[in-house]
């Protein structure tokens, strides 16, 4: 499948997630899937995307390798792993997009909770940057009382971080520095819709089979 799910580390990772609301899984995407995705990123078109003043980023157009990644991420074995580590249930789909942040200040991601739609339970970001970048670090904090929880650098190709979504938690990606871009596939494990309904919905929108 191209994903390395550390089922043997569930106890350790669930303790870490309970304490810090974040975990990292190294080499999560690997092998042929990783090679195809990194190759597609090198030639893909990215277009600006703005999220209500929260973020401004470049978003990658759809491609077959991205769809292959998306299918791989919507599997019962991964959902079961996420449930056992985070307690989130029922997980019915993963939705995400490949984005890029360039240094220079134009592109940013500010503190937000991702909880507004009520369906997102656990976030995930997979690093697909071909070279190490500076800045662009995932950070998470708690509200009421406000408390900075953790910064989570994620520079290894194919490494993934997972983080809890909730109204009492906010996260952001810090400002980019240096001269290299950050490229990551990020999104959410959700309790609705289920993946098959989502595919049907998207196929009706796009006219694809």
């Amino acid at each position: 499948m191209g994903l390395r799910i550390p089922h043997n580390r569930v106890d350790e990772l669930s303790r870490e997630f309970e304490q810090f609301h974040t975990i990292k899984v190294e080499n999560f995407v690997h092998g042929d899937l990783l090679r195809k995705i990194t190759a597609s990123i090198a030639t893909a078109k990215f277009s600006p995307r703005t999220d209500k003043g929260i973020a401004h980023e470049l978003c990658m157009e759809e491609s077959l390798p991205l769809h292959a990644l998306w299918v791989s991420l919507n599997d019962t074995a991964l959902f079961e792993f996420i449930h056992r580590v985070t307690g989130a249930e029922p997980i019915r789909c993963f939705r995400g997009r490949m984005y890029k942040l360039l240094p220079g200040g134009e592109y940013f991601d500010s503190w937000h909770d991702d909880a507004a739609d009520g369906h997102r339970m656990v976030g995930m970001s997979i690093n697909f940057s071909p070279e190490p970048y500076e800045g662009g670090v995932f950070e998470i904090k708690q509200l009421d009382p406000e408390r900075y929880i953790r910064a989570m650098p994620n520079l290894g190709l194919g490494d993934a971080i997972f983080f809890r979504i909730g109204p009492q938690l906010k996260h952001r990606v810090s400002a980019m520095a240096g001269n290299r871009a950050k490229t990551a596939f990020a999104g959410w494990f959700q309790d609705s819709p289920n993946f098959i309904d989502l595919l049907r919905e998207l196929s009706q929108e796009t006219g694809h089979n």
Binding site: M1, G2, L33, L64, H67, A68, V71, S72, L73, N74, D75, T76, A77, F79, N194, F195, I196, L199, S203, H208, N209
Partner: protein
């Protein structure tokens, strides 16, 4: 009625696909043309075995008849039809 596949024929999944299993069903993306396919619980039951290793057609018919309430002849016909469709879509090979 189309001929059933020979019991000794080897059925194997191609590399031109990626799939996931959800709620007892399977979603398969054919990575050559980008078309999505769906399998019901019986199709998924067989597909999960093919994801692990090639199997003979006879072994798969036996596994399905052991698991589901279906007679051997009907199962062989249904699986033959399914596998030929999947071979046409380059999701599996029949050798």
């Amino acid at each position: 009625m189309p001929e059933t596949i020979a019991p000794e024929a080897t059925i194997s999944a191609t590399k031109e696909q990626v799939s996931c299993e959800l709620g007892g069903e399977a979603v398969i993306l054919q990575t050559g043309d980008g078309i999505y396919y769906g399998l019901n619980s019986v199709g998924n039951f067989v597909w999960q075995r093919l994801q692990k290793a090639p199997h003979s057609f006879g072994e798969l018919v036996q596994a399905v008849t052991d698991e589901f309430d279906v007679d051997r002849a009907t199962c062989a016909e249904d699986l033959s039809r399914l596998f030929r469709d999947m071979a046409s879509a380059k999701l599996l090979q029949i050798a």
